[in-house]
Amino acid sequence: MKKTGFLYDDRYLQHDTGPYHPEAPDRLSAIFSGLERAGLLSKLIRLEACMAEMKWIEAVHDKQYIERFKSVCQSGTNSFECEDNQLCYQTYDIARLAVGGVLNASRQVMDGVLDNVFCAVRPPGHHAEADRSMGFCYFNNIAIAARYIQSEWGIQRIGIMDFDVHHGNGTQSIFESDPTVFYYSIHEHPSFAFPGTGRAFEKGSGDGIGFTRNYPVLPGQGDDEYISIMDTDFTPLMDQYAPEVMLVSAGFDAHVDDDMSGISLTTDGFTYVMERIVDIANKHSGGRIISVLEGGYSLKRLPELVNNHIEILLRD
């Protein structure tokens, strides 16, 4: 059994998005009790939230943007930049706790204390750009983790696999000209789904051309398409890139029962995707995987999907 970390903190429930919002605290509660029920919690090494140092957040986000976000929260307003982004007084601090938790988890993996880790954090991050919040995201947790790992461990090749059903426009924009981070995303085709980016012709810019890969999937497609993408595209590309660590933007909203998308992936499909990511990490990255929760809104399916995700991480 692998030494798998699990980041979770009750404080992540304090980010209040109001009634009727899909990105609700219930998501994390459902994940936590699902792990408890399945008897998985005792197999995991528990990590708690901690405050991120500002210098790491500033390594990705503009100072003025951070200030804007902070003052909106403290003013008591309940949305930021767009009605989608519902927040509360505590959101700024909770977002910093999410980043801090992910950075601490990254440190434990990079230092070899853990083999891999799953970070059950809120708010999510992959839509957040350097100077713009979007799609329920404020600080780009995974992008900040990648910058942290680059700078503290001098890692030259970081792989980010984003299987959230929505394109991670934030992560892509942050690393599009950086060949030391390979951003790979499978998502519902942008002509049918939020946020309208992630078209196949978006391949990076400048020195980063060829280090961004977008694989849009049409509505109604599911396991067969994902299996084929993982086998014929993801695996050969990652074999070529040979990432020294794998970061995963783990969104569970491509599930057939998740109303946020038109994609029909089953739990078995998610298993296939994650197993191939683990294969790449075992082959090239010494097994190092830092997986961070993004979307996934079906409270009925989330526990099953996360339990499954964690069982794959635990497997030798």
Binding site: E83, D84, F194, P195, G196, G220
Partner: protein, 232 residues
């Protein structure tokens, strides 16, 4: 919607007495394919396109890496010898729709815009129209497109707009397209949100049919053959 607002105003032009090699260099330098030919006072007298150049210059001229080496073998040709003179033009107060239909009809890639004295004011190319329609579609902003099937009768759109507005969702655009079933229309609201779960449910609860995204279309004719279609 007037072409004066969407046209390129700083037009790269050429004089009728210039050599066509100069025209080719100007096109390459500015990455354009149309050069209006004007008199010193701004009067539009013709147009020269990259296709005109390709017809006038030997094929080898385009393949060589250093065109200067080939210069001596290319006879000097003046712009006025190969330019198109009877031009289809737009006026600044023509609309984008005029430009679209005219480009479709004339099969040209760009139309010059002239004032009532015939002086060049701008140029509208397919690229300018694309930019305008990317804007109209709203796809430069993050959002989600829905496809809703409605009866073709008054008041349908209002109910849809009301439901979406109740959810405090902003519109990026709304398109209404013909649908292949008689008496039906397809409405495509582009919503500036990631959060469409509730609004989709409300639309269904109000009796609307959400179209299967794989059946969406913006540019096809009805699937069924018209009843009086000729058979062959």
């Amino acid at each position: 919607m007037f072409v004066s607002r969407s046209m390129t105003q700083k037009v790269v032009t050429i004089s009728k007495d210039a050599d066509i090699i100069e025209a080719k260099e100007l096109m390459e330098q500015h990455q354009i394919r149309h050069l209006p030919v004007i008199e010193p006072d701004g009067l539009l007298i013709g147009m020269i396109t990259d296709r005109d150049l390709r017809s006038a210059l030997p094929a080898t001229f385009f393949k060589t890496e250093n065109p200067a080496e080939k210069m001596p073998v290319v006879p000097s040709i003046k712009v006025k010898e190969i330019m198109t003179q009877n031009l289809v033009t737009l006026s600044p107060m023509d609309t984008i729709q005029d430009a679209l239909l005219l480009i479709q009809k004339t099969l040209v890639g760009a139309l010059p815009v002239v004032d009532n004295k015939g002086n060049l004011k701008g140029i509208v190319s397919v690229r300018d129209l694309l930019r305008a329609f990317i804007n109209v579609l709203g796809i430069g902003q993050p959002g989600t497109l829905l496809g809703i099937l409605v009866e073709e009768k008054i008041g349908q759109l209002k109910k849809i707009v009301d439901i979406i507005t109740e959810e405090k969702i902003s519109f990026g655009s709304v398109l209404v397209a013909r649908y292949w079933e008689e008496g039906k229309r397809a409405v495509f609201p582009y919503l500036l949100t990631n959060n469409v779960v509730t609004v989709k449910k409300k639309l269904r609860d109000n009796g609307y049919t959400l179209l299967d995204p794989m059946e969406w279309y913006l540019d096809q004719l009805p699937k069924t053959e018209p009843k009086n279609a000729a058979t062959s």
